[in-house]
């Protein structure tokens, strides 16, 4: 005993018998209590942030994007990593609002990842928060090139092909109609990218741009723009206006007797844009990302479309698919990572693959852009089903090599990817 006391004294640690007993009892008590503490943490839900517009001009598309996202979690019985999981959905009324929502999701809700950004300007704002907060973010709808170009970052992944890819696929179709183009594009990133991409294409291929107007978002009346187009007598009108703005334009295009007189073309339109136009006024040549009747849809996509129709009583619009696949890629990656640690999820997202038809789609390492095929579609001459407007002409590019070419090589990318 004396020897033991001496040893403790030399180490500077003095513990009496009572102290030792108290410590042992406390340790035992804490060991007994620990499982409950551990279980409480495990039952705390994993939160996923979702930022889709609840107000504003893109809200009609955002409803489908959100429903698709929620369906992706429901298909997992609202669990992740064996724990309950929930989606926290905030609004994006404008780019500043999108940024604030992302900050709230990260700071207040402690989400482990985010999906959203219905417009390009919103997605760029959210991406900057994702980068700063180091939280994985999937931009499922935005098409501006900057998102996976010069503004790319390690935490941002993008599902929608960028404007340049859509343009490379649609522009040859437009050029085959005629080489005098008129551009009517929205005055923000998406429209400006379209203006640049199509102008570059037609001037490089011996054509001319006979007129180009930038249109404010939310323009209620296009009649004055249409009168200018009519006077310019172009062969084709290239549109770059999104969602309800496109719907309004097409209604007034028909009203002013232009439907069928001058072909109208636009990239990346959604089913909802045309459903709101109505069969009388629907017109145009488009690229679309997904179509619920495509026979090449994977079994998983078919199951999603069936589940969506059962739940909402209408076919799954392309935007529902985009919201679903964007969320699915994030949820799959959390499971793959077996962790909610942001770095691990990012690495899992980089390795995530999904089988569609004869190819695996996924996010590229060097810019986090998803590569996949697009559909080129016109409008049925006679619409008999109120949901079925598109007359799909082709699914392009055909081969994996062509897909890689259309999306551009790493050497051509403006993305300088940072590290975790």
């Amino acid at each position: 005993m004396t020897e033991q006391k001496k040893t403790l004294a030399t180490t500077g640690l003095r513990i009496g018998r009572r102290g030792l007993l108290l410590g042992a009892t406390s340790l035992a008590a804490s060991r007994l209590g620990m499982p409950y503490i551990g279980n409480a943490a495990a039952s705390e839900p994993i939160k996923i942030g979702m930022i889709w517009a609840k107000t504003g001009s893109i809200v009609d598309q955002a409803e489908y994007l959100a429903q698709g996202g929620m369906l992706a979690l429901e298909q997992r019985n609202n669990t992740l990593l064996g724990r309950p999981a929930e989606i926290v959905w905030l609004d994006e009324p404008n780019p500043q609002g999108a940024q604030q929502s992302a900050e709230r999701l990260v700071g207040e809700q402690k989400v482990v990842g985010m999906v959203g950004g219905a417009l390009s300007s919103f997605a760029l704002a959210i991406s900057s928060v994702a980068k700063k907060a180091k939280i994985p973010y999937v931009a499922a709808n935005a098409a501006t090139g900057d998102l996976t170009g010069k503004s790319c970052n390690k935490y941002t992944f993008r599902l929608q092909p960028p404007v340049d890819v859509h343009a490379r696929i649609l522009a040859p179709y437009c050029a085959s109609i005629g080489k005098k183009w008129y551009l009517l594009t929205a005055s923000y990133a998406f429209g400006q990218d379209i203006k640049r991409a199509f102008t570059d294409y037609i001037t490089a291929n011996g054509g001319t741009v006979v007129g180009a107007d930038e249109v404010p978002v939310g323009t209620p009346d296009y009649s004055s723009f249409i009168l200018k187009i009519r006077a310019a007598k172009p062969d084709v009108v290239i549109g770059g206006i999104a969602a309800s703005d496109l719907t309004t334009f097409l209604k007034q295009w028909n009203e002013l007797g232009m439907k069928g007189k001058i072909p109208f073309a636009e990239i990346s339109v959604g089913n909802t844009d045309l459903w709101g136009v109505g069969p009388e006024a629907a017109d145009g040549l488009y690229t679309i990302t997904w179509w619920y009747k495509n026979p090449n849809n994977s079994p998983g996509e078919q199951a999603m479309a069936a589940a969506y129709e059962k739940k909402y009583g209408r076919p799954a619009a392309d935007k529902a698919w985009m919201g679903w696949l964007g969320m699915k890629s994030l949820l799959d990656s959390i499971e793959m990572a077996k962790s909610t640690e942001p770095g691990a999820i990012v690495q899992a997202l980089e390795n995530w693959k999904y089988r569609r038809g004869d190819m695996d789609i996924g996010y590229r390492d060097f810019d986090h852009q998803m590569t996949s095929r697009l559909l080129v579609a016109g409008i049925h001459p006679k619409i008999t089903d109120k949901w079925d407007y598109f007359d799909v002409k082709a699914e392009l590019p055909k081969t994996p090599d062509d897909i890689a070419k259309a999306f551009g090589a790493q050497a051509d990318s403006a993305c300088k990817m940072d590290t975790l």
């Binding site: 001009s57 978002v217 709101g276």
Partner: protein, 289 residues
Amino acid sequence: MLDMILSQAVNGLVLGFLYVLIAIGLSIIFGMLGIVNFAHGAFFAIGAYLAYALNKEFGWWAALAAPLLTGLIGVVVEMVLIRHLYGKEPLLGLILTFALALLAEAVLRLVFGGAPVPFAAPKFLAGFVEYGPILITKYRMFVLATTVLVLVLFWAFLAYTPYGRIIRAGSRDPEMVGLLGINLPIVFTGVFSIGCLLAGLGGLLAAPLWTITPSMAAGAIMPAFVIVTIGGLGSFLGAIVAGLLVGITTAMTIQFQPEWSGAAMYILMAAILLIRPRGLFGERWERFE
């Protein structure tokens, strides 16, 4: 170029008449009741959706009932909510009608969904006419004629009927009108209902031209407020002149500087308010001083 200017000027005038129709109800409600109705755009959207629903179920002619139904909704809203605001702090009215606008949008989204719904003009109004460089669609001519008819009828109602005189007197000195034994609350309910009916009519007439979504109110309420501000709060004639000015200014900006077209009406408003802070036909009203 002269052809294009002429064409755009006529188009701007026609567009202006549509704006006048949207704005006039807002102007009447403010002028008579002193309420700045932020929910005016919501009644516009309700009118469009009712037109869509009636057209879908019963055909185009049934859609003509949409403004009347919007007016009836206005009666209920006035009796339940708005009448408690008379004579109170104007800020209360702003907050309540703003909340009402948000509620109406949410209800429309719940009932009809967020996606746009289709609505086309009747076949007999399809097509357009051309006079030299000027192109006007039959439907827009119909909108113009309807607006002019409504404005004339409403002016005659205010100027030549006993009810019109009561409304005008009540808007200036409600206390005195009340002391004369006139049931002013009923008169005010009627005025609010007429304002909502006109918003609903605007929604019906805009439905074949605009996208019908729950958020379509935003596209109507801003031009309406700009027009009422330019014309002078509560001025009937001011709203007409301002509506036409906004239409022509927007059309001309699109012709020469399209990227400024969204801002053009606000710049016009700022310029006019610098010269005449009460708006073009704004008067000094004792009630609001």
